[in-house]
Each structure stands twice: as C-alpha cells, then as structure tokens.
Amino acid sequence: MQPLSRKKRVSYFLILTVIFFVVSPLLILYAKGYRPNFGEVFKVALTGGFYISADEAGVSIYVNDALVRKTNIVQKSIFVQDLKPGIYEIKASKDGQQSWVKFLRVFPELVTEARPFLLDNDTSMEEIPRFSNTNNATTTSLSTQIRNLEYENVNKIFTTVPVKATTTATTTQSVKSIRRVTIDNTFSRLRISWEGEVDFTPYYFCEDINCKKEIFVNTPSSVKSYDFFPGRDDLLIVKLSDGIYVIEIDDRSKQNIQKLVSGPDFDFKVVNGSELYLKNGTKIYSVSL
C-alpha cells in the first residue's frame, strides 16, 4: 500500500489553508459582534449583548418579555448576544421573590452588565431570644432565666454610636466605604462615588465606555440610616420612614427598590459586611440572606 499521495496531501493542505483564510476573519468579526443582516442583502450589522449575573439558580431572565433562560446551579449568569443597539427591558423573576426590572442600552461591540437582586416576598427572619432557659438538674428542678450572650452582643452594636458619624435631625451621615465605593449623605441625598482607578470602575458607573465618578440614589422618603447590603457593593440597605428597603446604586435606568420589612420602628445593622440584623423595640432578628 502506498503512502498518502503528494496530490492528496497538497489538496488537503490547500483546502484547509483556504478554510483558514476564510473562517478566521469571519470568526473574528463574529466574536466582535458582527452579524449578517438578512433584511438587507450583503450587509452586516454590529450587535452587542448583556451579561446578567443573577447569583442564584431558578431565576428566569427575560429580554423584552421573551424568556432567554432560567439560571441553574452551574450557570447563574447568562450572556445574551446578537442584540441590535438600542434599549431593552431586562426582567428577572423567581417564584416567591420580588421582581427586578431594568431598562438598559445595548451598544455595538459592547456587553452591558447587570446584576439583578430579588428579595423574598416574606423576609425570612429568626428572632434571637433575649434570655435562654437553662435547667439546673443537679441541685433543683427550678428553671433559671439567664441573658443570651448573642442577643447582648448584637444589641450592643445597635446601641453603639459610630465614631465618625455626624448627625442631623433626620439622618445619620457616616461615610461608608467598601472596595473604594463610598457612600455619603452630604447633600441630603445618598451620594455614591468611585474612588478607585478608572480601569477598575464598577460596571454600574459606566455606560458605553464612559464612566462617571458619582451616582445619586433617589429614595421615596428621607434616609434615616444606610449601609451596603451584605455581600454586595452595588446595593444599599436603607431605613426609610415606613420600613427597611434595599435599593440598587445602578442609575442607568430607574433604580430598583425592594422592601425588606415594613414598620417605622425597625432598625438594621450590617455586621462584618455579611450578616444582617433587624431590631424592633427590644426584639432582635437575624435575617437569612
């Protein structure tokens, strides 16, 4: 049997070389977001996309009311591309949770990021008992009430006055900062500013390739206290006149605001950037996130 003939080898080589020179530029253009425009023959259109990080499984993502995909344990984010430049409605929803809706613009060749948040319709809170019961089984059968150490510790946080805080009649004006994102209340409105390098500006400060340095958060009533929502630098937890709310910083369209708990007497504290506690009168609750 003869070796692979020179003619065949040259043919394979030439065919594959032609494929390389045809496919490479096409694939590069495709990767950049160019798509054939079948409406107009021999024309291509530049497209863009969205990258939506839902952070949890089971969230349905809609673009202009069309379901794109439901997130799962493996893929909690979705990348939608082939979208013509323009404004799209992005909606994220999940049973038992409040929906998140945002109108975002797609730019040619660029990916617009978004990070929805969906709070439970009924916030899951667990009361931390003020006293814990203990049985003195060795000497008597009487029950004794002793102070719960966890309650005492959390309660101390609620009663501690922040060192750098300045106060007005209605608001707490401490400056809070996380990963170079800073909140202040200097102008009676929450002002969020980016104090890091331009190259690391969070996506919600930017549209297209233009980034701003500050964002104002609009709330329906005056803010009594505020902090970053645990684990997120793009969400704020705020105390308003009728309850505790979570509001997003992203102002590329109307900022989403979702109620955590109703009641003018509720107060909140974020501990170590990851734990959330609520207090109403003498009752303290741990909130599961």
Binding site: F20, L27, A31, K32, Y51, E109, L110, E113, F200
Partner: protein, 513 residues
C-alpha cells in the same frame, strides 16, 4: 572537501567551535528557546497592552490548531490503514521473489543496567522473527560503567541465544573516554566499529550488503520486521540514501502502565504514524535501521551529544548534501511504555524521557549551521528544511500552552475596557468550542489505539473499552505536561547553555510468577 570531512561535521555544541563559528552556533542554540519564549511572552504582553489584537491572534491560532489537527488526522488515518495492511502482508513471500541472500543484518542492542528480562525479551523476539538468523549478527553493546551485572547478563543471553545467529558479539564501551558524552551514541558507535572488525571484516562481508539496526534495548521486533526491512532495502532506488524508520509501539508492558502513561505512549506512536505519511518531516527516531555503508562513511553515530537517533540522519543529510531521506516502513516495533514502581515516579520518568526526546532541539543549530557551511545544498532545500524544523520545535513547545493556557489571557489581563466588549465574552466561548471540536478527533485516536493493543497478560484484567476510550480525555493534560513543558524545559536549557546529558529511561518490569 566533502562536508563530512570538515571540522564542523561532528560538532556537538557551540563550545566545540572557536571564534565567529562559536558565536553563530551559540546564537543558533538560543534560537528555538528564543522563538518559543518570544511567542509566549508576546502573547502575554499583547494580552496586557493590546488585548484586542491578542484576542484576534488567539482566535486565528485556535482555528489554525483545529485545522492542523484535522490535517494530521488524515495522515494518521491513512497510516493506520497502511500499518494494518503491512502487518498482514507476507513480507517473507514478497522477499522470496527477490535476490536477497547476500543481505546481512547487524543488530546493535545497547544496554546499560536493564534487567535480564528486558534484554532477553528483545533478543528472543529477533530469534522468533522469520528472517534467516544465520544472516544476522547480534551485537550486545554493554557499558563498562554499568559494572559486572551487565557483563553477566550479556553472557547469559549469549550462552542461550548465540547459536541461533550467524554471529553474536558482546562489546564493552570503555568509560570516561575523552571527547565523549556518556550515552547511547558513543556506545553504539563503538560497538558498530567493533562489529566491523570482528564480524564483517573477519567474515569478509561486503559493507554494501549490511543493514544496521540500532535498537533500544527494550525493542521487540514483530515477526516480519527484517523481511519487511530487507524488502524495502532491495526495492528502494538507492538504499544508501535513506534510513529506515519503523513505527514505535509501546506495547511491551502497556497493560501494566497507568492511563497517563498509556496516553503518553499512544500519543508518541500517533505522532510517529503521522510523520510516516510526511517523510519530508521525518528524521530517524529511537529504534531505526540504516545501511552500514552509509554509517561507515561518516564514522557512525556522534559521540558528543544526546539525540544520536535523529542526529545520525542529519549527519547523513549534510554529508549527502541534502540528498538523503527517511523511508517510513509503516511496520511496527514494540517498546516499553514508561512504568515505574510508583505512579509519581512514572510521571517523573515520562517527563524526563520526553525532555530527552525534545532535546532533539539541539539538532536545529547543527542543521542551520550546516546549511551555512555546506554550499552544495540547494537554497530551496535549505529554506524548506529549516522552516519544517523550526516550525516543528516551535509548535511542540508553544502550541499546547497557547491553546490550553493562554486562550483566556486577554480576559484576565485585558482590563475593564476590553472586558466590556463582546469580543472578550466570546473569546473563551470560541476557544472552548474549538477545543471540543478538536477533541472529537480523539475518538479516532482511541479506536486506533485499541486496534493495536496486544492481548493482556493472564494475571491482568483487561480494562473495559470504555476506560480505554475515556483515557483520551487526558490528552490536553498530557500534551502540556509531557509535550510543551519538557519541550520548553529542553529548549531553555539549550538556550541558557545548561546542556543536558543522556538520561537512560529505567525499564521497570514486574516479576511475573
């Protein structure tokens, strides 16, 4: 003056030369490492400072790699058919139609401290081959530095098998000979010269009629190897202008090798099978055969370097002014896959063996320097050969790293501007998808691999076919850790002047009760 008579012909490294020659040779030693590291560093710098350009390059490179894989798979498939055809063919019958009785085989088996089992298995396989053993001589080439154990083994083997052959010679290569690098090249060169004096001249055997097979000590020949080799020797237009290259299988102990070793061994076989269909890219490798006349004319294998198996081809190529090639036999010989007592030792041994193989990059300065000095080789031959060799060493050391490690680099280093682009999001998706398509070709690899496997030994359970197929998903790992990394390691050593010595791959055999 013929090139073989110049002082450049058997240069081992830059330090063997003086003046401008040394500078040129040293620069050529740096070249392979410079190109490989240059490519990797350029990709990193591009990813950092021009991520869009880096992304374009990586996408184009991914496509190039996929198409190259497809191109090579055509060659692999054809050689698979040819191997199966040649293994079924009756070479003894074909040979009987030619006048072949004058052809004499000198089989050189260099060994160091390998066990009796290893040496005996090789010699026995030659005994069992169909060729007339009285027209064959065995040269057991031992090393003085291996001590008495090797001498005892060679005597045992000689006592048991010498009577089968026309001649049986044991040679002992003296240790610490000046100007020599301890290794296979110096041993077989010494042994072949001893065989010339003590066998060929003594029996007045014409040099033109002698074929030398230089086998690694674990080489087990298939029954018709010598018939196939002789048939090709007699039918090729000029047998003194070619070396004969079988396909190395690593079947001797394949059932005792872990999956990683099986995949590394199978990949080495596949590479040689593809090269068999691209003879212009083929140099002799490991066990090979060549006419004694050609060897004698150039003074046998070089004694001062590591990759003697491929260097002998380049010696002959330059000596014949480019009019020399490798004739692929598409007939197998079997050798040992890497197996050590522990898994990690096996991994280490595979790495070291592959580093020694990829140290074949030391041939590149030799070839390019030879092209500068030998004016009798045509310019086109020089350009073509240089390109093939440079591309070969470059792709070996860089392609797997580019594909499996650097494909995501612009996303990591490109900065927020780049990371906002559709291109940035599509780059890892495209790279991943192209890799998945390329991996489909591994199904063919697994089928070919299974088709050449011997029956498992009685004390070993045969792994399921599914396991033998699934093992090929290790390929991305093996081509990195046993291909690119040792390749880059070897080129870096050559580039920095930290020259490697000859590392003998240990041949571990489990005792079978």
């Amino acid at each position: 003056m013929d090139y073989k008579d110049t002082k450049y012909f058997k240069v081992g490294r830059a330090s063997d030369l003086f003046g401008v020659d040394r500078v040129i040779y040293r620069a050529l030693e740096i070249l392979p490492g410079f190109l490989s590291w240059g490519t990797i560093l350029t990709t990193i710098l591009l990813s950092l400072y021009a991520p869009i350009a880096a992304a374009y390059f990586i996408i184009a490179f991914d496509i190039y790699w996929l198409l190259k894989t497809i191109y090579l798979s055509f060659h692999l498939r054809h050689n698979w058919k040819r191997l199966k055809h040649n293994m079924k063919a009756d070479w003894s019958l074909m040979l009987s139609k030619l006048k072949y009785e004058h052809v004499y085989h000198l089989v050189v088996l260099p060994f160091y401290k390998e066990s009796l089992e290893v040496v005996e298995q090789s010699v026995k396989s030659i005994t069992d081959s169909e060729y007339d053993k009285k027209k064959m001589a065995i040269v057991l080439a031992t090393e003085e530095r291996a001590g008495d154990g090797a001498q005892e083994i060679s005597k045992i083997v000689k006592d048991k098998y010498a009577h089968f052959f026309g001649d049986f010679l044991i040679t002992t290569h003296p240790k610490d000979t000046e100007g020599e690098l301890a290794g296979k090249g110096s041993n077989i060169a010494y042994a072949t010269e001893e065989a010339r004096i003590n066998i060929l001249d003594k029996n007045k055997i014409t040099y033109d009629d002698v074929i030398v097979s230089a086998f690694d000590i674990d080489t087990v020949v298939y029954k018709q190897y010598f018939s196939c080799l002789t048939w090709h020797f007699l039918t090729v237009p000029d047998p003194y202008k070619v070396s004969f290259q079988p396909v190395p299988f690593y079947n001797n102990n394949i059932w005792r090798a872990p999956a990683l070793s099986r995949v590394a061994a199978g990949s080495s076989t596949f590479w040689q099978m593809m090269q068999q269909e691209r003879p212009e890219k083929l140099a002799t490798f490991s066990s090979h055969s060549v006419s004694f006349k050609s060897l004698h004319e150039i003074g046998y294998w070089q004694k001062n370097m590591v990759s003697e198996d491929s260097r002998i081809f380049w010696n002959l190529f330059l000596a014949r002014n480019g009019d020399y090639s490798v004739l692929p036999l598409s007939y197998p010989v079997s050798m040992d896959a890497n197996v050590a007592p522990t898994f990690w030792q096996t991994v280490k041994n595979i790495y070291r063996q592959h580093r020694r193989w990829t140290y074949g990059a030391e041939n590149l300065p030799y070839i390019l320097f030879g092209f500068i000095k030998n004016k009798k080789i045509s310019l086109w031959t020089k350009i073509k050969t240089s390109f093939v060799q440079i591309e070969g060493f470059w792709s070996l050391a860089t392609n797997p790293i580019m594909i499996f490690l650097l494909g995501w680099l612009p996303v990591i280093l490109g900065g927020y501007r780049f990371n906002e682009t559709v291109l940035s999001y599509n780059l890892p998706i495209l790279t991943r998808n192209i890799m998945i398509v390329a991996m489909v070709g591994l199904i063919m690899s697994s089928i070919i691999f299974i088709s050449f496997l011997p029956e498992p030994p009685k004390d070993k359970n045969k792994p399921s076919k599914l396991a033998l197929i699934l093992q090929w998903i290790l390929v991305p790992l093996t081509i990195l850790i046993f291909g690119a990394f040792p390749g880059l390691d070897a080129q870096t050593r050559l580039m920095s002047g930290k020259y490697m010595g000859f590392w003998v791959t240990p041949k571990h055999r489990e005792k079978i009760s």
